[in-house]
Subunit: 477 residues, 2 copies
C-alpha cells in the first residue's frame, strides 16, 4: 500500500516541535527517541509499518488541545490512536506525523443511572465501560471482539459494532455526545446526554469519521439494564449456503435474536483446538442467542428452532448452563486469535444484504479456488457484516499481494450485491483505493469538502479513507 | 418572526422562470397564478404566511432534477415541502422562492421482506408506508402524530419521532438510504439497504437537515415484523411532578416499554371531550405500552405496575381488549387536534434528560403563572421529548408575541438542564433565533460551512435553521 512521501520540511522541524510539546506535556508523555517511537509503528494491520516522527500521550482534553494547537502551528500531520487495534490501518503513522495516543485518558467522568448514560474519557477500553456499571446491573452494548483492548476513541472513530449489535445497534446508536478537539486546538461539545440536538446531526457525522474531523477526548454513552438471562444455541449445517439460508430465514421471519454469528469449518477447527468450546465438527456453525426472562427465551427459541430444523441441521444444541454459554462465546470471541496462531491472515469487513449470504459465501468459495488461497469465515451474520479471513504466508514472496487482490475482489462483490466496503473496521489505508468502487468522483469530492470544513489544512489523519490521488490537491504533502 | 426581504431581481425573473419550468413539467404541475400559489403560503405553523413565487409538483427524481437545475441557473431559492405538516415553519415559503412539493411522488418502488426494507418515493405518507406491508404483518416504526398526512420527505428532513420511538428509535434509526437531488440537479445515492456505508456518515447528516442540503426523492426504510400483541396501561396521578417521577423511575429501572406518553389535566379534559377515550379526570395521565406475547407483556407490566403503585396512583388500568387499546391511542393521537378546537396554541418541541421531568414541569407551571398564559402538556415522556402547548388568543393583540417569548423561555430552560431546542419538529423558522442559546458562534459557523459544501449558493431553504444575522453573509438576498 502506497503511503505519501514524508515531507522533508516537516521532518526538519522535529527538534523545535519536541521542545514545544515538552512545554505542555510531562516528559514521559512525549516519545521522540527513534527506538521508542517504534512502539507506535503499526496497529493491528501489521503488514504495514512506519514509525512516527513523535508520539504523545496527553492525559486530558486540555493537553490534547495544547498538542493540536502546536501541531497546527507547525503544520505537522496528526494521527489519532485509540488502542491500536484497527484492522484497517486507521492508526498507521506516516513518517512525518505525530501519533496522538489517548491511552492515558481512561477515567470515568460521570455515571447517571437515572438518565442511563456514562461519560468517560475516550481512552477507556470498551469492556471497562461495562465494568464501571456492572455492579448496578447495567452494561454498554457495542461489543467488538477486541473489546478487552480497544478504546472508545477507536470505537467512535470506526463506528464499531460487535456480536450483539444485531439487537442493540452499533456505536452510533449508543453514542449520545462527545467532547472533541478541533485541529486548531478549539474544544467543542457535540450532542449531549439526551435525545437529538438542534441543527445538523454533526454527532452522526463525527462517529465513523476515522479521526479525520477532530480528536474525540470524552464521550457520553447510553447504558442499558442487563437482560435477565440469555441463552445461545449452536446450529451445525453441512454447507455454508444452507447456514446462510437459515440466517436469511430467521431475519425474514422478523424474529430479532440478540446475535447471529457464523463460523465455517476452517474457523471451527482452529477455534476448537484453541479454546475447546465444544463446537461440533461440521461445515458451518451458527451461534444464535436470545435474551430475556426464561419464558421470553423459550418462546423466541421455539420460533428459531422451528426454522433451524427445516434445514436439516447436523447439530442443534441449546446451552444448558451459564458455564456452557460462556464457553460458547469464548470460542467465538477468540476465533480471530485462534486463526492467527496457525496462519497469517487478512481480515476483511464487507457488509451485504442478509438475503445475499448464500450467494456471496458460494462466490467466495469459488474465488478461493481461483486464487489458490484458503478462506475462513467468521462473522456477524444477522446484520450481514462479513469477516472473511484470507489465509496467506507472509514469508512467501507475492502472497500478500495476491491476498490483497483477492480481498479487493471480495469487497467489490459486496458492493456489487448492494452492500458496502466496511461494516465496522473502517476504510483506513486498507480500503482507501477501493472507495472508487463504491463512490463516484463527485461523491468523494463532497466527502472531502466536508473534511475541508473541519480541518482545512488536512492535517488530521490525512492519508486515510480517500484514495491518495483524489486527496492529493488537498493534502499538504 | 422576521423573514428576509424578497429579492426584486428574483421576483422579476418570474415570467421566464415559469416558461422554463413548463418545458420540463406538465402544465398542472407548475402553479404560478397568485390565487393558486396561496395554497402553499404556510405549513402547520399557521401564524406565519407568505405565498411563494411559484409552486411545482414534480412526479419523479428526473423532474425534481430538472426543476432544481433550472432554479440553480436562475439563482432562485427553493423551499422543499413534504405534506406541509411542519410545526416549526420548515416549509414556509419566502416571496422570492419556488415551493417544491413532493405530494405527487407517492409510489412504492420496492418491497423486500427478505432484507426487511421498503423503498418509496418521498412524498408517500408515513402511515401508507406501513399500509403497503401490513398484509405480511410488517410495519414502519416511526409514528409521528401527523402520520396520516405527513410525508416521508418531511420525516427525513426533520428526523421525526413519534409515540413508539422510545423502543424503535426515530427516523434516523430506521432510514437505510436515500436518493437525493443536489441544488445543481445532480442525482446522488446515499446509503443503501444494508448495514453502514464507507466514508463519512452523510446519510445521518442528511437526516434532520431540514431540506437544506438536497431534495430527497426516494428513501429505503427498515420495516419490522409486527409484535404479537401490545397492551397499554393508563396511570393517573394527582400531580405532574409525581407522574414525571414515575417516568424517570421506569427508565431508571431499565425496563423499555414501547411508549410512555404523558398528558396533563388541560389536555386530558380537551381530549376526553373530543375523543371519549375513557381517560380518568386527574392532574396527570401516563399511557405506558408494552409489546410481545401475552407472557412477555405480563412480565414487563408486572415490573412497571410495581413502580407505578409506589407513587399512589389515583387510577391504574390495563387495557382489557383491542378495542379499548385503540380508543386509548386514538385519544392520545388526537390530543393536538382536540386542544386546537378550544384554543389557539403554539406547540413546542424541546427535549430534556428524563430525570429532569419533574423539575421542568414545575418550572413550566411557574412560568405559566408569570406570563398569564395557560399551558397544556402532552408528550413523549419516555425519551424526554416534551411538547408543551401554550394557549393564546390569536385575535388578541400582543398575545402571540407574549406566547413566543414564553415558548423561547421554555426552550432555553430545556437547553439549561442539558437538553435541546428540538426533538422532532426541527428548527425551521420557529427556533432559528434560539440556536444561539444552544450553539456558540463557531459551532454555528461549522454547521453553515457544511451547508456551503452541499449548496454553495445557499439556495435551498436558506432562511431556516440559522439566525438570519449569522447566515446573512452567505445567503444571496
Amino acid at each position: 500500500m502506497e503511503m505519501p512521501t514524508p515531507d522533508p520540511k516537516v521532518l526538519a522541524k522535529k527538534p523545535q516541535l519536541v521542545e514545544r510539546l515538552l512545554q505542555v506535556l510531562p516528559e514521559d508523555a512525549v516519545i521522540h527517541e527513534e527506538a521508542e517511537t517504534r512502539a507506535y509503528e503499526c496497529d493491528a494491520l501489521t503488514a504495514y509499518r512506519c514509525p512516527p516522527l513523535v508520539a504523545v500521550l496527553p492525559a486530558n482534553t486540555q493537553e490534547v488541545s495544547d498538542v493540536l494547537r502546536i501541531c497546527h502551528e507547525f503544520d505537522v500531520p496528526v494521527v489519532p490512536r485509540g488502542s491500536g487495534t484497527s484492522l484497517a490501518g486507521g492508526a498507521l503513522p506516516t513518517a512525518d506525523s505525530v501519533i496522538l495516543g489517548v491511552s492515558r485518558m481512561s477515567e470515568v467522568l460521570e455515571v447517571d443511572y437515572d438518565n442511563r448514560f456514562i461519560r468517560v474519557q475516550s481512552g477507556r477500553t470498551n469492556l471497562s465501560v461495562s465494568g464501571a456499571v456492572e455492579e448496578q446491573d447495567f452494561f454498554y452494548a457495542p461489543d467488538p471482539s477486541s473489546q478487552l483492548a480497544c478504546a472508545i476513541a477507536g470505537n467512535v472513530a470506526m463506528n464499531s459494532g460487535g456480536a450483539h449489535c444485531l439487537k442493540y445497534g452499533v456505536t452510533t446508536n449508543n453514542l449520545l455526545g462527545v467532547t472533541m478537539v478541533m485541529m486548531d486546538g478549539e474544544v467543542v461539545e457535540i450532542g449531549g446526554a439526551h435525545l437529538d440536538s438542534g441543527g445538523y446531526d454533526l454527532l452522526g457525522l463525527i462517529c465513523g469519521s476515522e479521526g479525520q474531523l477532530g480528536v474525540v477526548t470524552e464521550a457520553a454513552l447510553r447504558i442499558l439494564r442487563k437482560p435477565e438471562g440469555a441463552r445461545p444455541v449452536l446450529m451445525g449445517y453441512d454447507s455454508n449456503e444452507v447456514a446462510g439460508q437459515v440466517v436469511s430465514d430467521i431475519i425474514k421471519a422478523g424474529v430479532l435474536p440478540v446475535a447471529i454469528e457464523f463460523m465455517d469449518r476452517p474457523c471451527i477447527r482452529a477455534t476448537e483446538a484453541f479454546a475447546g468450546a465444544g463446537y461440533p465438527d461440521c461445515e458451518a456453525l451458527l451461534i444464535v442467542e436470545v435474551e430475556g426472562s426464561d419464558a421470553e427465551i423459550d418462546e423466541q427459541l421455539g420460533l428459531i428452532l422451528q426454522i433451524a430444523r427445516k434445514h436439516n441441521p447436523v447439530e442443534l444444541r441449546e446451552s444448558g448452563s451459564a458455564e456452557e454459554s460462556a464457553k460458547i462465546w469464548l470460542g467465538r470471541k477468540s476465533a480471530f486469535g485462534a486463526m492467527g496462531q496457525i496462519n497469517d491472515y487478512m481480515c476483511l469487513d464487507g457488509t451485504i444484504p442478509v438475503s445475499q449470504l448464500p450467494y456471496v459465501l458460494r462466490r467466495i468459495g469459488e474465488m478461493s479456488k481461483d486464487y489458490g488461497l484458503d478462506v475462513g469465515n467468521v462473522f456477524h451474520a444477522g446484520d450481514g457484516n462479513m469477516h472473511p479471513l484470507i489465509l496467506f504466508d507472509a514469508n512467501k514472496p507475492g502472497d500478500l499481494e495476491k491476498c490483497e487482490a483477492f480481498g479487493a475482489d471480495i469487497l467489490r462483490l459486496c458492493v456489487e450485491v448492494g452492500g458496502c466496503l466496511t461494516g465496522e473496521h473502517g476504510v483506513g489505508i486498507e480500503k482507501r483505493d477501493l472507495m472508487v468502487d463504491q463512490f463516484a468522483p463527485d461523491d468523494l469530492d463532497i466527502q472531502m469538502a466536508v473534511k475541508d470544513v473541519f480541518d482545512p489544512a488536512w492535517l488530521l489523519n490525512p492519508a486515510k479513507v480517500f484514495p491518495l490521488a483524489a486527496s492529493s490537491g488537498r493534502r499538504a504533502a
